[in-house]
Symmetry: C2
């Protein structure tokens, strides 16, 4: 029987730990503050980002939501610089991808290192590649947390990372390069993924395609890390066909796997950043 | 017959191009300036670093060699900051690895982005991972230059990068993630390299082990990029057994492959940095 890497249950535990830590910091007069910045008017993103601030408030943190429906690179950068200088704010998270036409690099480069709690800047990504300590992107942090909680070693394995975003697949692959493991990365649409999947011990997907990974593609005992978030109406499907679970030794379900953990990881990093100022 | 990716010949061409560019900049009153910083007393490194400054002088550039035989993190950082502020200097190169006991991260983080001509800082490495423009580490730049000069596409291939330093293998793997290719990375001592090599179209080695890759491990038509530099007395050997060349479609010999190109790539990046100030 495969172990279900239950992101919902793990999130509940982590949120309790965060609440305790926030209380402890309150005793020192520090309220961890998070600023979330959203560009554009994608309704799903608005809802998701609002959820981040709501969850922050729920554990006793301070949270600001900055929604720039129409903006320019200059305006966005100016906002980030204002937040860098604001002592109430310990963590800044800019929702990616940015609205069309905006320059991602200039935005993420503007975030001060010590407030880059989502590991978005080149400096943070470089540290991930170097194996140096930094705030990991939430998806990477979530996956490593699940390995830890379920006492599964991420080492000594051949990882396949199928995907190529700057906030999930590429930093995930970079992170694994610093473990005693082998890592294969391919783009979400790479036609060779079925062949590559066949020899992988761990498959981490970010393919934006419902059930792209099927049971015939994987080997017995595979560990599945599914970042799929493929909506059909109100139903969400993973990149991995549930038939794969029968061959897997462990898997993150969709929904209820990595997704729910992302906000908790962001909040925890913000609390860590706040603790450094206490 | 395999194509020999002749680093010596390519270097000669690139050095001529650099000389022409330096002359052009002289017309605008700009002399490209490079500062090379070496810590510790490794004799081989001293010789190599002196060669860098000599080559720079030969093409009409200005070059400084800072040799800190015994130093501290603070002293090293202070020197880098002085060089950051020095208008004569357009490129700063800190020879890695540092002497024992020194903090690599604090040193490379100190280099100003616009003078980081060897792509050493976390910010540069992050940009490599993101696929954003920046000065590439010399080894990565050398390899991409050889692909270009010999009109071989680096795309549509399965790369194996065998090695894990911050200045060669990890940035190389990160760079490939942004091409239409697949990339597998494993540590220099990974016992699975023979299996991984078998399916690779391109093998880039940094294994510190004479003839670690043998003919039985590779497939016909493989492209070999050998960063091996394994000395036996005064003779140098690659990580790849020359018997592999008979199966390869292209390869960098050792000596005479990637090695000779490294200094030229560093000088070219320094000239580019100088041109931006002209």
């Amino acid at each position: 029987m495969a172990t279900i890497l239950d992101g919902k249950a793990t999130t509940a535990i982590v949120m309790e730990e965060i609440t305790a830590e926030v209380e402890k910091l309150a005793g020192k007069g520090v309220v961890p503050g998070l600023a979330v910045v959203l560009t554009g008017d994608d309704k799903y993103s608005v809802r998701y980002v609002k959820l981040k601030t709501k969850r922050a408030a729920k554990v006793g943190m301070y949270a600001e939501f900055h929604h720039l429906e129409e903006t320019t690179d200059e305006e966005l950068k100016a906002l980030i610089e204002k937040l860098n200088a604001d002592p109430k704010i310990h963590g800044i998270m800019v929702q990616l991808p940015l609205a069309e036409g905006l320059d991602e690099l200039s935005a993420v480069e503007a975030i001060a290192n010590e407030k880059d709690v989502d590991g978005l800047s080149p400096s943070a990504l470089g540290k991930v590649l170097m194996g140096e300590e930094c705030y990991l992107p939430a998806g990477v942090e979530a996956i490593m947390e699940l390995f830890k909680r379920y006492d599964i070693s991420p080492e000594g394995k051949h990882w396949l990372v199928a995907g190529g975003t700057n906030f999930m697949s590429k930093p995930m692959a970079a992170y694994v390069m610093n473990m005693k493991s082998r890592i294969t990365q391919a783009g979400a649409k790479c036609p060779h993924i079925p062949t590559l999947a066949k020899t992988a011990d761990v498959i981490c997907t970010e393919m934006f395609k419902k059930h792209a990974i099927t049971a015939d593609m994987v080997k017995d005992g595979v560990i599945i890390l599914d970042n799929g978030n493929n909506y059909e109406g109100k139903k969400v499907f993973g990149d991995v066909d549930p038939a794969v679970y029968e061959k897997a030794s462990a898997y993150t379900p969709v929904p209820g796997g990595i997704g729910p953990m992302l906000i908790a990881m962001l909040l925890r990093n913000t609390v860590k950043a706040a603790a450094k100022t206490a």
